[in-house]
Structures are given as C-alpha cells and as structure tokens.
Homo-oligomer: 221 residues x 2
DNA sequence: ATTTTTATAGATCAATCGATCAACAAGAAT
DNA sequence: ATTCTTGTTGATCGATTGATCTATAAAAAT
C-alpha cells in the first residue's frame, strides 16, 4: 500500500564526484561485496519493517537504488534475505551484562529495575525492531520464540527471584506477575509503533511509575 | 506457510443427504446469497487470522470448498472482503453497558475492574480477534485506530476518573497509568496468540493480581 | 595500455496473484 | 414436465511475483 512512487533509475550523467570514504552514500556501482550485502540487509530491515515481510523485492531494490536481480546475487532466495534481516535485528538485542546488573544486590532493586527498563525500552522502542518483531511473531518465526524464551530465562526469571527476595508483603510473586510488569511497559511501544497511536515522547516517566506501583504492591521500598 | 494441503474438490458422487436446517455444513451448492456471503466472511476471518491479510483467495476458496471465482461474486474486490472481515471482527466488540457498569459507584471499584477485565479478556483473548487486530494494526487500518480511540474515550478515560476518585495515596493517576494497567493485561493475549508462547489457560488470576497491584499503589481498598 | 575478474544491469521465465466471463445447473415458478 | 432465474463452476486474462541468465562495465592485475 502506497510504497514509494515509481522513479527513474537515474543512472545517466555519471557526475564526477570525489571518492567517499565510508561509501554508504553514493549508492551507485561496484561496492565490495561485504558493504553491498550489508547495505541490502540494512535497506531490507527498514523496508520490511514498513510494508511487512511480504513486501516485494522490486520495491526494495528501487529503494536501494539498485536492480532487483542484484539482491539475488547476495541472497539465493528471499527467505534467505529475511533470515539475514532477522539476524541483524535480533542479534545482540539482549545486552550480556544485564543479568548481572539486574541481580546486583548492592544497589536497590528499584534502581536496578529502572536502569534495566530505561535501557531496554530505549533499545526496543524503535519502529524497525517493534514492527519486525511483530511481523515475525505473526509469521510464527522460530527466532521470535527463542528470543522470548531467552528473555524469560535470562532476565525475567532472575528478576522474579529478586522481587521475591525483596518482597515484604503481598502474595508470593509469580512469573505471571513479572510478565505483567514487562508487558505493561512493552505495550507502550506497541501502541506507538504498531498501532500508530500518540504516545509520550519520553516513556521513562510512565515506566518509572509502573515500576513503583509494582514494587509498592510487594512492599519494596 | 504450510496452509492446507492440496485436496480434490470432491464434487462427484452427490451422496443423498437429508436437508439440513441450519445449512452451515454441506458446503455444496446454491445457498441463499445471505448465507453464502456470511459463510465466506466467517471463513475469511479464520483464514486471514491464520495466514495474514495477504493470504490468497484461492486457498481461502479451497478451505471453503468453493471456487475462487465465487468469492468475487459476493465481493467485488479482495479489499472489500477484508473490509467485511474487519466489520465482522470489530463490530460490537465493546459492549455498550460497560461504561455504565464501570462507573457505577454503588459497587466497589475493585469489583468493577475485575468484572470488566474478566469479560473483556474473555472476548478478545481469541486467536481470530487478536491476530486480525494485530495484522490490521500493522497494515495501518483506520478501523484499528478508531477502535483504540473509542476504547480510550469510552472506557479508559472514565476508568481514570474512577481511579482518581478512589485514590487515597500515591501520585495523581494519569492516562498513561491506565494504559499501563490495560497493556499489561492485554499482553497476556499477545503472548499467547501472536507469539505462540505458553500461557495460563485461565488468565483471570493473573488479571486479578494485576488489578490488585494497581489499586494497591493508589491506596484503594 | 591491455587483460582479467566480477559486480551490476537488463531482459526474461515460470509461477502465482486478483479479477473477469461465458457456460452450466440447482431450485423456484409455471 | 417445462421454463426461468441465478448461484456456481471452469477457463482464462493481465499484472505481479521470485528467480535466472547473459551481456556489460567498473576496478584490479598485468
């Protein structure tokens, strides 16, 4: 639906131009394979995030300023390209030091939660991540479940232990309680990037209040 | 991806059969237009919920046990069919008596919240609704935003007023706080039907605890 | 300069898509 | 039984899709 208008490929008049160092601009000719591949993946991430994983390769190529056949030089099949998009988007999304900092009891639990969700929300509250995560989830992608299982095991489960340890009143916290805290925060990004609803430009205040309510119910400072 | 296997249309041997009253089974021939249209819409809801709004009309027709061309007898275009799917799914999803019951201060706020979210979750925690809502949201459908705006104006905003009135401590509740409560609950359905994650078969306990935590933070009984 | 390598473009294929149309047949009317 | 209406089918069109192939030209090697 209303993807970019048809535009000429404008390959005439090879205007003289000083050689660019990074070579990310000047989407013209004969890039070293590594760069070209990365350029295609980056473009594909943005493109598929907008129009969905069923967006066609011709529109993607046009947006890249490149022929459609070139894409298939670097990826044997469209599914391979999508797989590369998944890897690019999912890779290293869970910072390896979060588990440690989340369980570091030398700092108050509230601060740990605040730090974690401030950083995590800054990382995932982006159109590309949010939408590709949702598209791939709906498509039943294995990477999606793997990500959530890892999130659960590496971050949320330790988090539950921390909350349980710090709790001074209320019911024994369960995994569902943690998911509820998590979901309520993530839902801000869903409202913004999936539903296109107006949202606070800075979600940190809403996040802080959600965390405080959560801890309050368990009698944590 | 792995939609039903190719199967013959099995229209030979018109096995004698007693005329069925409801006529929902025996997807064979010459249904009155109203019934056939409804059958197509019902099938389309289930079909598009599974494979997405870009599922093709031939697979849908095959699933209905009907020719593809027949679909276009009842819907001039595929977009018209999708529009009918939207109407079918979105129609009357917000019960008209909820606003009144949600603001009926003769019953405790906790009971009202519990009643509302018990019924609401039972209504929307279904694959068809959840997935079509997400598909249409990603597609940028206008109906999607309209629904959320109505939800916000008719239910969540009054709810905010109720919470603000009942609050005895904590910060002044904001709309973002209500969205957080709502999102945390809805996220259960997202985990289940969009991400395909294991979830409690009965979410009412998780919902109850979420509501209690929310009210607790504002000092409501 | 000349040759060699290969990244890229352009043309094109086969499959699939939404959509159309004429012919058929089920069921009501007579 | 015959006619008439119209719900339904099967064949097919034109556009679009992912994917392939060959010719070209940019850049490295000589």
């Amino acid at each position: 639906m209303l993807i970019g208008a048809k535009r000429g490929v404008e390959m005439d008049k090879p205007v003289e131009r000083a050689p660019v160092a990074a070579a990310t601009r000047d989407a013209r000719r004969r890039l070293p394979p590594g760069e070209r591949r990365q350029q295609i993946v980056d473009g594909a991430v943005a493109f598929f995030a907008e129009v969905g994983l069923e967006g066609n390769t011709r529109d993607l190529a046009r947006r890249l300023g490149v022929t459609q056949s070139l894409i298939f030089r670097y990826f044997a099949t469209k599914d391979d390209l999508i797989e590369a998009v998944y890897e690019q988007v999912y890779l290293e999304r869970l910072s390896p030091d979060w588990p440690d900092r989340l369980t570091d009891r030398t700092t108050p639990l509230r601060d740990r939660l605040l730090d974690f969700y401030t950083q995590y929300s800054a990382l995932i509250f982006q159109s590309e991540w949010m939408r590709i995560f949702m598209f791939s989830g709906l498509a039943g992608a294995a990477l999606n479940r793997r990500y959530l299982q890892q999130l659960s095991g590496v971050l949320l489960k330790p988090l539950l232990a921390e909350v349980a340890d710090a709790a001074t009143r209320g019911p024994t916290p369960t995994m569902e309680d943690i998911w509820n805290l998590h979901g309520g925060i993530v839902y801000i990004g869903i409202r913004q990037h999936i539903y296109g609803m107006p949202c606070p430009d800075d979600p940190s205040e809403a996040i802080e209040r959600a965390i405080d309510r959560f801890l309050c119910a368990f009698g944590v400072a």
